[in-house]
Amino acid sequence: MNRKFFWMALAALVLPILVRLIWLFPGFTFPRTIAIPDYANLKMPVAPITTPQVEAIKQQGGIVLVDYAHSNQFLPNEIQTLTDALNQRGAQVDFDSDSTTLASRLKSASAYVVISPSTAFTSEEISLVQDFVGRGGRLSVFTDATRGQIFYDFQGNPVGNTPDVNAANPLVEPFGITFNADYLYNLVENEGNFRNVYFQSFGKSDLTWGLSKVALYGTHSVETDTGLALLVGGDKTLSSATDATPGTDPKKGWAAAVLSKDGNVFAAGDFTFLMPPYNTVGDNSALINNIADFLLSSQRKVILSDFPYIFNGTTVDVLPTSKVQMSAEITGSLSKLQTSLASTNIDLKVVKDAPISGNVIVLGTFSPSDDLTKFVEPFNLKLDDLSEFVEIPQFGKLGRSGNGLLLLNRSEQVTTLVLLADTQDDVTTLLDTLSSGDLTGCLLQEDVGVCSIGFGGSFSVGGTSTPSLGGSMTPEATPIQKETPVTATPGG
C-alpha cells in the first residue's frame, strides 16, 4: 500500500517539473557555421600600369599663358606634369595673375589655359578670348568637381557651395561647350573609388591619340552640342545630378572632356589627373602629352595688333630701302625699338640685303623704288610719286602726309614688316610709334595698319610717339603735303 502512495507522491513531485519543462521547452540548438567576410583576402584595388610613351617629343616652342587672375582653385605645382610636358616641347609657361594685362599677354601666347576659376570673367575678357580663339589660338579650360568654393557658417558648418563651373561656363559657352555642376561616378568599375572614373571610349582626335584607358578623379561632366566628345564614360558611369546616364539612351555615356567644333577649345571636367600619382595611371600621361601637343600646335594667325609678338626666332633684320637713309634719328628710333623688342628676347640687326628666312623690318617711303616693290606687291599697294595719295585696298585712298603704313607679311620662311611713310622724318616717327609697343592708336586691319604720325614732314618731331586717329585718317580729307625725302642730320 505504501508503495502505491510512494509512486503517487513521486508523480506529484515530478509532474510540475515536467509541466514547466515542457512549458518552457528551450528547444534543441545545434552549432551552426556563420559565414563572415573573407577579410584576409580583401585586397586594395590597384591602379593600372602606365602605358609607356614611345613617341618622340617634338620641339614646338610657343608661350602658354595660364590664368591665375580669377581666384583659381589650384596651385602651380599641381599642374607641374603639364608644365613639364610643355617645357619639354620647348614652350614657355607664363602665369597671368593680372586680368588687366590679358589683352597684351595673349598677343604672345599660342594657348590660354584656365583652371578651376572662382571669379567670373568680364565680358571684355571673354571677348578677348573669343577673338584669340577665333584667330586660331588654343583655349583649354579645366574644372574640377573637388574644387568648388564651400562656405561655412560661424559654427563651421558648410552652408553653401559654388562650383567652379559657374565661372568657367561663360568662357566656354560661346564655343558650344557647357560644364555641368555635378560629378561622374561608377560603382562597378572604377579606379579605387566610385568617383574615380575610367574612360575607355574616345572621340577621334589628336588629343585622344594612343589612349586606351584614362582615369579621371572627381570630374564634372561636359557637354557640347556642336563639338566632339573626347572622353566618354560607359553605361555604368552616372552623373551625381541624375544618378543616370545622359538622355534616354543608356548607351550614351557622359563626356568628361570635349573639343569645340573648330578644334581650338579643349574643355575637361577634371585636372586631378595631372597630379602625381594619378598622372601615371593608365594612359593619363599620354593624355597629358597630347594636351601639351594640342596647346602648342596652335595655328593662330598673327596680325599686326599682336606686335611685338609677330616674329619667330630671336633676330629681326632691319632693311632700309634706298629712299631711307640711316640718319641719327633713324638710328635713335631703331635703338628704342631694339630696347622694346629686347623684352621679347629679340635682337635687331641692320642688313643691306633682304634675308631669305627669318624676320625683317623694311623701312621705306611712299616713293616707289625697285628694292621696295617686292615687299609691297603682296598688298596691291599703289605708290606713285605724282599722286597725293597712296592707294591700298583695305583703306582706299590714303593721304601721304601724316600717315604711316604698317604692312605685315608672314610666309613660311620670312616674316616681313614693312614701315612706310611719306618722308624719312615720318618713318622715324612711325618707328617711334612701333617702339612704344602699343599700336592701339593705329587703325589696324589684320595685316595692314595706318598710324597717324602727326602733321607729317617737317612738323614731325623725332622721338615723340603719340599716335592719334585725327582727321588725317579720313583718306579723302587728308591734307596733302608732299615732300621730298630729307636726310636728317645728327642731332636734328
Binding site: 506529484a12 551552426r32 563572415i36 586594395m44 573609388n193 600619382p277
Partner: protein, 285 residues
C-alpha cells in the same frame, strides 16, 4: 467496472503523501529558469566605449545558457570601422549557437546596418532609416619633412600615402559589401550598383529592397528571436545591467561638440568610419 472507493483513511494518507510531494515538485519546478531572450541596445554611435559595452553583452549572452536568443535593438548612425567590425565578429560567434534578431527603432545606418546584416532577421519600425552602406574617411596630409620633428620613415608621421588611404577605404567597403551579401543572402533584391550608392532608405523601401525582413514592433522582434530559438515561452531581459559590471561614461564623446555644447554630426576625431552623417544644408549657388 470496478468502482474506486477510498476510505477516509486512504484519502488522508494520499493527501499526506501527495500534497507535500506536489508542493516540493512545484517548488523544484520553479528552479527551472524561464528561457531568456537577451536584449542588447545601442542608442549611440559605435565607438570604443559603446563597442566595449556591446561586446560585453554579446559575450554574456553567449556564455549564459539561459539566454536562448538575442534581440539587438538599434538606433545608431554607425561609427568607426574597427569597432564595428569587432562587434560584428562577436555577433557572428554568438549566432553560431543562438539566433539574433535586430529591431531597428530609429536608424540602422552604415556601421549599424553592418551589424544588423550580421543577424538572422531584421525588423524595423516603418519610419526608421536603414542602409547607407559605405565607408567615409579623411585622407592624411601629404608627407613633409619638419625641421624639429625627426621620424624614421616617410610615413611614420603620416601613416600612409594619401592614395593608399583612399584604396584602403575601398577595401573596407568590399568587406562591408560582403557582410551584407552574406548576411542577407537571397533576400537581398538589389545589386552593388544600388546598394553601394550609400543611400539611406525608409524601412518600407528597405523591405522592398530586401535590406530588412519585416516591419514591426519591438515585441514582434522578441517573438521572432524566440521563434528562431524554438521557444514557446520566454522572458526578455535587458543584458546591460547583468553584463556591464563597471559602467563608466566615455571620457570623450564620439561626436564633435562646439564650445557652446552643440553636438555636430561629425566624429570628434579623424579616422575611418562606417557612419551616416545626416544631410547638411549645403546648397549650390
Amino acid at each position: 467496472m470496478k468502482k474506486l472507493e477510498l476510505t477516509g483513511d486512504e484519502v488522508r494518507r494520499i493527501l499526506l503523501w501527495v500534497i507535500p510531494a506536489l508542493i516540493v515538485g512545484i517548488l523544484l519546478s520553479l528552479l527551472i529558469p524561464k528561457p531568456v531572450v537577451g536584449v542588447i541596445r545601442l542608442n549611440d554611435a559605435i565607438y570604443a566605449s559603446t563597442a566595449k559595452d556591446l561586446i560585453s553583452q554579446i559575450t554574456y549572452a553567449r556564455d549564459n545558457p539561459d539566454i536562448r536568443a538575442v534581440a539587438l535593438i538599434l538606433d545608431s548612425p554607425g561609427g568607426t570601422v574597427v569597432d564595428t567590425e569587432a562587434v560584428y565578429m562577436e555577433l557572428a560567434r554568438l549566432r553560431q549557437t543562438k539566433p539574433v534578431v535586430t529591431w531597428v527603432s530609429g536608424m540602422a545606418a552604415s556601421g549599424a546596418f553592418y551589424l544588423a546584416s550580421g543577424t538572422d532577421y531584421i525588423v524595423a519600425v516603418p519610419s526608421s532609416e536603414v542602409g547607407n552602406v559605405g565607408v567615409i574617411g579623411y585622407l592624411p596630409p601629404s608627407p613633409i619633412v619638419l625641421e624639429d620633428t625627426i621620424s624614421t620613415g616617410p610615413y611614420k608621421l603620416w601613416g600612409s600615402p594619401r592614395d593608399t588611404s583612399l584604396r584602403e577605404i575601398e577595401m573596407i567597403k568590399q568587406g562591408f559589401f560582403q557582410a551584407v551579401t552574406l548576411g542577407r543572402g537571397s533576400r537581398l533584391k538589389i545589386g552593388p550598383e544600388v546598394l553601394l550608392r550609400g543611400q539611406i532608405w525608409p524601412a518600407g523601401e528597405a523591405l522592398r529592397l530586401g535590406l530588412i525582413d519585416q516591419l514591426g514592433s519591438e515585441t514582434e522582434a522578441f517573438d521572432k528571436a524566440a521563434a528562431l530559438a524554438h521557444l514557446w515561452h520566454y522572458q526578455a531581459v535587458d543584458l546591460y545591467s547583468p553584463a556591464i559590471y563597471t559602467p563608466y561614461p566615455s571620457a570623450l564623446g564620439f561626436f564633435l561638440q562646439t564650445k557652446d555644447g552643440l553636438k555636430l554630426p561629425y566624429p570628434s576625431e579623424p579616422g575611418t568610419y562606417m557612419l551616416y552623417i545626416p544631410t547638411l544644408p549645403i546648397q549650390q549657388k
